[in-house]
Symmetry: C2
Subunit: 209 residues, 2 copies
DNA sequence: TATAAATCCCCCACAAGGGGGGAGTTTCTT
DNA sequence: AAGAAACTCCCCCCTTGTGGGGGATTTATA
């Protein structure tokens, strides 16, 4: 039986890189580059007729950025998969791209092999990140191991961060209202703050919760 | 100049897989398998003399699990890198492994090439995940795009979830106290809840914030 | 034998929360 | 042009929660 090839659209403002991608992908069996664009606006305008399976997207585009383009593209073609290929590797940009619906994030030092591997993984329903991106993402999961807070204090601060009040926390932990209050007093002293909001902010900044 | 080879310890209870890894890695230039163990306890006991750069760790070990072993290993050798290789791919296990300090997470269908690539990426200071793991991780970043909440409501609920009170939120958004209160009333109505804590819980469960 | 952690107790004053009502404007969609 | 959402602001009410002050006891850990 005939395997339909994967339809790919490339959005990249640098002509050399754009043509590089086109050449790289175009010569591979089972993949075809439908069109390439230098701005997200142009790509979005032609999205319905191009009808791609996957869009390779740069972040630093003139006009609307790749990040902002993601939800617009997804609203037109909800099933389309997005692979970000860019030089930008700041935490904020990466997280915004992933939160907006990207399935992959490669920084531009990625080899041709790595790019094709990512496209394959994404088309098979997975996701893909280059090593430096994966590291940032993983780091966002990790706690500070030198927390000044005790186990109980950390636990209680986590519940506070969920918006629970002292009464509820006390009930859930099978301890007294006053005990929770004491813990909170100690938390505030250790973090040098004087309110819930400040405690939560400080704790999150230092990855204590 | 002489490049020292990467010292690797393997912890895996299945003998076939364990020896498979040992063979796979042992034949590669620049990598040496110092020791292999079938339990985390044994590996931890010998950690100081083995002095590995990287530990390949299974999750489903007899005795203490791979997940629980991570902080214990890190407390003995803080610089050691951890690569999880396992069949387990539930969200909870993956997140706990990454939160505990793993630098990589491969599910066991990973090819030999992929395993070596991961080890290389991790040793170079990056991180690595197989496609299915990356997908779960990325999905955890993504919002529900069909939120019943308006932009403003979502924004305000996010601030509430940071522990801020109405007064502070009003000031930061340059709107009146009463306006914030109205938004909160509407949020509660839409989410069918009657308190901060319930609103935060419901919103998080449905990935509205 | 200190020190930290976890538990519990009392006081007080003020801030904050939640429910009820209504009403004006803008902005977007049909 | 009509209607619906969204965003803004105002009043009433009473209950609950919060933060700061001062303690105490027990257990475990260094």
């Amino acid at each position: 039986m005939e395997e339909p090839s994967v339809r790919i659209v490339i959005v990249e403002d640098d002509k050399v890189i754009r043509e590089g991608y086109r050449f790289l992908i175009g010569e591979k069996q089972g993949y075809q580059v439908i069109n390439t664009y230098s701005t997200a606006e142009q790509a979005i305008k032609k999205l319905n007729e191009d009808n791609p399976d996957l869009v390779m997207l740069d972040v630093g585009l003139p006009g609307i950025s790749g990040i902002e383009a993601i939800p617009k593209i997804k609203s037109i073609l909800p099933q389309v998969l997005i692979l970000i290929c860019t030089v930008h590797d700041t935490e904020e940009i990466i997280f915004r791209a992933l939160a907006n619906g990207a399935s992959g994030y490669l920084t531009k030092n990625s080899s041709a092999v790595k790019i094709m591997e990512s496209i394959r993984e994404i088309m098979q329903g997975g996701a893909s990140m280059s090593a430096n991106v994966a590291q940032l993402v993983i780091r966002s999961f990790q706690r500070n191991s030198h927390s000044p807070l005790s186990r109980r204090e950390t636990q209680i601060l986590e519940e506070i961060a969920k918006g629970k009040n002292r009464r509820v926390i006390a009930d859930e932990l099978f301890i007294d209202n006053e005990t929770v209050k004491s813990h909170i007093k100690n938390i505030y002293a250790k973090l040098n703050v004087h309110s819930k909001a400040d405690a939560i902010r400080t704790a999150k900044e230092n990855k204590l919760i």
